[in-house]
Each structure stands twice: as structure tokens, then as C-alpha cells.
């Protein structure tokens, strides 16, 4: 596969007074599955649209295999897009849709049919050539959109929430297929999603975005296990966030003492050299519940507020004596959960799982709001008339 190396340098996009993308710099290697993850309005789609060529950058560079393509029209860039709405042409058959772009890529006529057949086979849609898009299911339409882009053998494939319109079960299946397909064709995938599960399962690396900036960049494991800040921790999966203060004079051996309300806890992960106010995070699957009579290190008293049965696991919502709420995840192994609503419990927060994060200066509730996303910005209408 030819190239596919993307380098964004201080890429910025402003719509009037709104800065949708703010000085993003990131390097995406050839053949990588790279995701931009964030809530709606975080700038991920605008970034993708700038790489595709639908929006000109305000400042910054888009280097594609060493050339700045920022000012190029979409049809001159060797990148193709799979749209969220698929944008299949309704008046053309599946085969005609897939063949659409080959006219412009000087593919000889005799080769076009075999390329179409090849692409449809790649997405397991052989035999659907004569159908119209409206005769296909959502998942099938999504595959046609994929085939239509892949048939042109782009160096980069851009995917804008391609699974967003599908139901959960189909989405899971396609996640696996899409990741396998990417490895098979070896094309760089730049994938935009608000679904953290999608980003975690498919990506080689991902960037969590917030307010037009990259909050954290890394492999799925890094970003999930070692979130850089409270926002990333809360955005990826469920995270229990609490306000805490670092107590001076930690033992200096890879741990620090925290004060949470009236209780003292030991933490062994994250920013252990922090001082003053911090946020502390722990994943629900690392929280352990014990009967109230038991005690030990890093145990806080609490009370079960609610049990939510999720099939393979049960979420237990606990209200701590400090007043903050926590979730614990218990795997279902055939035994009934020995707690009910109102049961007093001891909540064990293992020091290795307690992660100290810098204090962003906002409350836990405000971080939650940010993670849930703003209303999607209608950026087209905010565009200045002069452009």
C-alpha cells in the first residue's frame, strides 16, 4: 500500500467566534487504525472533514505523506470517506455506486467490473450488485459505503461514525469485522466516534478529544488504564471520581496519602507527587465490597443504594459515608449478590487501583456534563458568509 502517513501540525479551525479545533498536532503512522474519540462538539468530526477536504483549515498544516494538502480540493486528495449517513446515491445500483469514483481515477474500463466485484467480495456483498441502496439493510448500506471508498485504494480511509446508525448487536459484529478488514487491506484508518467501546476495541491508538484539543493520546490500554486527567478517566468507561486532598508526608515509596472527607486512603497510581486538591479515580471493576463488620486498609463505610442487573455483571451503586457515590462491578458467577438496597457495606478501594489525577478546578459534576457532550454545534450555519 502506498503511503498513508498523516501529520497534523497545529491544526486549527474557527467558525466565527467558535474554535472547533484548537492547535491539534498528531502523527498517524501508515497502516494504523487511529481513532478520534470524544463527545459531540469536541471537534473530532471537524478534524476529519479538514483531512477529507470539506473544510479548509484556519491555520496549521495537514501533511499527507510529506505534502501539505490543507488547501487541496477533496477530489485531489488520495483519501476517501465513509459517511455517517453513508450518502449512497439512491438512483444508482450497488455496483454503480461502488464504480462511481473509478471514472476519475483513470481505471481502465475492462478493469472496473473486476474491481467492483473484488470490493464487494471484500465486504461480503457479492450478489448484491443489481440492488438499489434502499433495498438494503443499514448494515449492508454501510458495507457498500465501505466498498465504494476502498475500491479506489486510497492511502487513508476516513470513517465518520460509520456504525452510529446501527443497532448495538450489529455494531459489535461490525467492529470486529472492520478491524480485521483494516489489517487485511493495510490502509490507514482515521476513525471518528463518540463510542468509547468502538474506539477501545478497534484502534491501534486513539486520541481523546475535548473542546477542540487532544486530552490524551495513546494505545487503548494506556488511555483506559492510565488516564491523564479526570475527563479522560470519566469518558472512557465508567469511572468513580472523588475529590480528595493529598496529605503531606507520604511514605515516599510509590504511594501517597489522601484525605477523602474524614477518611484517609493510600493511593499508588497516577500523579503521586501532586499536592493540595486532587481528583481520585477508580474503575468500578476494581472496587470490592465486603460485609460491614469487616475492615482493613483503604476501606470506607457505605450503603448500597441500588442494584442494576446487566446480565454478565451487576452494577452496585454505593453511597459512601463521605457523601459521594461510587459504582462497583460484580461479575455474575451464578451466586446471588449478597447485598440489597440499604445494606451497609465496607467498600475496599485497593491502593494500586486508586489513581491520583490533577485537579482541573471544576467539580465532579461539571466533568460529567462535559463527558456527556454539548449539544451538537451547527457549524455550517455559523460559517461566515464571506468564505
Amino acid at each position: 500500500m502506498s503511503g498513508g502517513h498523516i501529520k497534523l501540525e497545529s491544526l486549527t479551525k474557527r467558525f466565527g467566534d467558535v474554535t472547533a479545533v484548537n492547535e491539534i498536532s498528531v502523527e498517524i503512522h501508515a497502516g494504523e487504525f487511529f481513532s478520534l474519540l470524544g463527545p459531540s462538539g469536541c471537534g473530532k468530526t471537524t478534524t476529519l472533514r479538514m483531512v477529507a477536504g470539506f473544510e479548509p483549515p484556519s491555520t496549521g498544516k495537514i501533511m499527507l505523506d510529506g505534502t501539505d494538502v490543507g488547501g487541496w480540493a477533496p477530489n485531489r486528495r488520495n483519501v476517501n470517506t465513509v459517511f455517517q449517513s453513508y450518502a449512497l446515491f439512491p438512483f444508482l445500483t450497488v455496483a454503480e455506486n461502488v464504480a462511481f469514483g473509478m471514472k476519475y481515477k483513470s481505471v481502465p474500463k475492462f478493469e472496473r467490473n473486476s474491481r467492483v466485484a473484488e470490493a464487494l467480495e471484500l465486504v461480503q456483498l457479492s450478489g448484491f450488485e443489481k440492488r438499489r441502496p434502499n433495498q438494503l439493510s443499514g448494515g449492508q448500506q454501510q458495507r457498500v459505503a465501505l466498498a465504494r471508498a476502498l475500491v479506489l485504494r486510497p492511502s487513508v480511509l476516513l470513517l465518520d461514525e460509520p456504525l452510529g446508525a446501527l443497532d448495538a448487536k450489529l455494531r459489535r459484529t461490525l467492529q470486529v469485522e472492520l478491524a480485521a478488514l483494516q489489517k487485511q487491506v493495510g490502509i490507514t484508518f482515521l476513525y471518528v466516534t463518540h463510542d468509547q467501546e468502538e474506539a477501545l476495541t478497534m484502534s491501534d491508538r486513539l486520541a481523546v478529544m475535548n473542546h477542540g484539543r487532544i486530552a490524551q493520546l495513546g494505545t487503548p490500554e494506556e488511555v483506559y488504564n492510565e488516564p491523564a486527567d479526570a475527563y479522560v478517566a470519566d469518558f472512557l468507561g465508567v469511572s468513580n471520581l472523588m475529590d480528595a486532598r493529598v496529605e503531606p508526608g507520604g511514605n515516599g515509596q510509590g504511594a501517597c496519602r489522601l484525605r477523602v472527607g474524614d477518611f484517609s486512603l493510600e493511593a499508588k497510581a497516577g500523579q503521586l507527587d501532586a499536592t493540595g486538591a486532587v481528583k481520585v479515580a477508580i474503575r468500578p471493576e476494581r472496587v470490592h465490597l465486603h460485609p460491614y463488620e469487616e475492615g482493613g486498609v483503604n476501606c470506607l463505610p457505605g450503603m448500597v443504594e441500588r442494584l442494576v442487573f446487566l446480565g454478565s455483571t451487576t452494577h452496585i451503586y454505593v453511597r459512601l459515608a463521605t457523601g459521594s457515590a461510587l459504582q462497583a462491578l460484580v461479575r455474575n458467577e451464578g451466586n446471588a449478590v449478597p447485598y440489597n438496597q440499604g445494606t451497609p457495606v465496607k467498600v475496599n478501594l485497593p491502593a494500586e487501583a486508586l489513581r491520583v489525577l490533577p485537579d482541573p478546578g471544576v467539580s465532579v459534576a461539571e466533568i460529567r456534563d462535559e463527558v456527556l457532550g454539548d449539544e451538537p454545534l451547527d457549524l455550517t450555519s455559523a460559517a461566515p458568509a464571506s468564505s
Partner: protein, 312 residues
Amino acid sequence: MASTVDESVTTAPRREAELTGRGRPRGNPWRRPYAMEGFTWLYIIWSIVPIAIAVLFSFNKGASQATWQGFSTQWYVGNQVTSVLHNPGLHQAVIQTLVLAVVTTVICVPIGVGFAIGIDRWRTRTADGLNVVMIFSFVIPELLLAVALFFLVTQALTFIKLGTPAEVAGLVVWNISWPAIIVRARLVSIGRSYEEAACDLGASRLGAIRRVLVPLLMPAIFASAVLVFASTVDDFVIVEQLSSTSNTQPMSVLIYSNVHAGLTGPALNALATIMLFLSLVAALIGYVGYRWMSRGERTKGNVDALAGIAGI
């Protein structure tokens, strides 16, 4: 399945009992709305019966427009002097109407479509202003435009001669809102993603418009062409002002002037029937054509602006 049926059977009497209690509306709220249906039928009869009678008397054997004397097509073709076919005045009026309708449609629709694309795709303040102008023809009195155009072509733009050229110019101005508004409504409803997809796959801006946007707009273009055609056939005010000799009088003007001059007779009914028929055929073609062209999108269940206007 069976259990839900049973449930409805058992709960029905209880629901009825609740509804007949104090403070509940009396009677069955799901009964047929007889009053509304009645008014609807009255309206339909009121609007259709006079037209039906006029059409009926165009087939009268005698010359009366009030007494039925048996069926005949003499006022269309049979009568060697006064039938639409043989009376040169009536004959010419049919041709003039068709010429005006076809020429106006051919000129009006491409301009209107271009207008719609321009206003929608290259958004500027001027475009927004022009969009308001598009609605003008729905608001300003037709007579005002007709008189203004009359002075324009007789005083200023004298190279546009009264008669067919002036009539076409007036009809194009009056009807351009149809394609502009209908096509624009569809542009808004189809959005930009198809064009972007085409550009993404390698098409230039113009290529995307030609290969993707125009086919997508085809149902709206066709429907607006039909509306322009039908509206031109029906037009009276503009063509009355801008026609010159009797040779350039379309059917509507001829019927009006004859009736005014007391020159009635079933041949005029025949002429009016032809006019009605032309409009109906245009509407039918429009309906069938629009359904056929947009068949690929039916599953979405989206009713766009045109479907709303035309009741399609």
C-alpha cells in the same frame, strides 16, 4: 398473540364504563366525524358540480347551455363553422396556450433550478435577499405585475414585442418561483452529503452537481415543470395584459372576452373543457412522474416540501 386479544376483550367494557362516568365526554369519542365529513362533501360538491355541468354542456347536441338536448361532439370537431377544430379563433387559442405553456416551461425551469442551487449552495447575504424576492410572486397581486410589465415592454424594453414574446417574458417572471422554491426545498432536504461524497470520490464541484445533484433533484425539477405548465395554461391576468392581436390570445383570454361580449355557446364550453383537461393531464403526469422518479427513496418515509404542497 392470543393473550393480548383476550385482554382487550376483557378491558373494553371497563373502559366504556369509565368514559360514561361523571365529567367524561358523552358518547363514543372514536365515532366517525359525521359533521366534518359532511362539510367536506359539501365543499367538494360545491366546487365540482358547476365545473361538471360546464363540461357536460360542451357535449350538448344543441346550442343551448341550459337545456340538455342529447350527446354530441360537434362543438369539438363536428360543426364546420363554430367547433373548436374549425373556428380559426378557437383553434388558434388552443395552439397559443400550448405554445406559451411549453416555451414558458422550457425557459422558466432551468433558470429557476439554477436560481435554487445558487441561493442554497453559495450562501451570501445577497442570496438570502433574493430568496425573499422569490416569495414575492406569491404575495404581490398578479395584476400589478402584469400592468408593470405592460409599461415596461411598451415604454422601456420595446424590443420585447407585445404578443408571444411579452407573454412568455411575463409568464416566466410570474412562474419562476415554482422551480426556485420547490427545487430549493428538495436541496435543503437532501443536504450536502451526497455532493461531498461525489467530490470525495473524485468528482469536481461541477461534476458533482451534474452526476449527483441533478439526478437527485430530478423529481423536484419535473414536478415544478408540471406546475409551471399547468399554471401557464390557467393564467389569465398576465397574458390578457401582454397579448396583442387575437392571434396571440390564449384560451383563457378568448373565453373571457367572448363571454364578456355576450358571444356564448357550447363551443366555449368545449374550449374551457380542453383547458381543464390540459391542466388535469399535467397534474396527473406530475403525480405519476414524481412518484416514479422518487421511488428509490420511498422507504425513508420522508415527505418533502413538494409532497406536502401537492398532496402527493
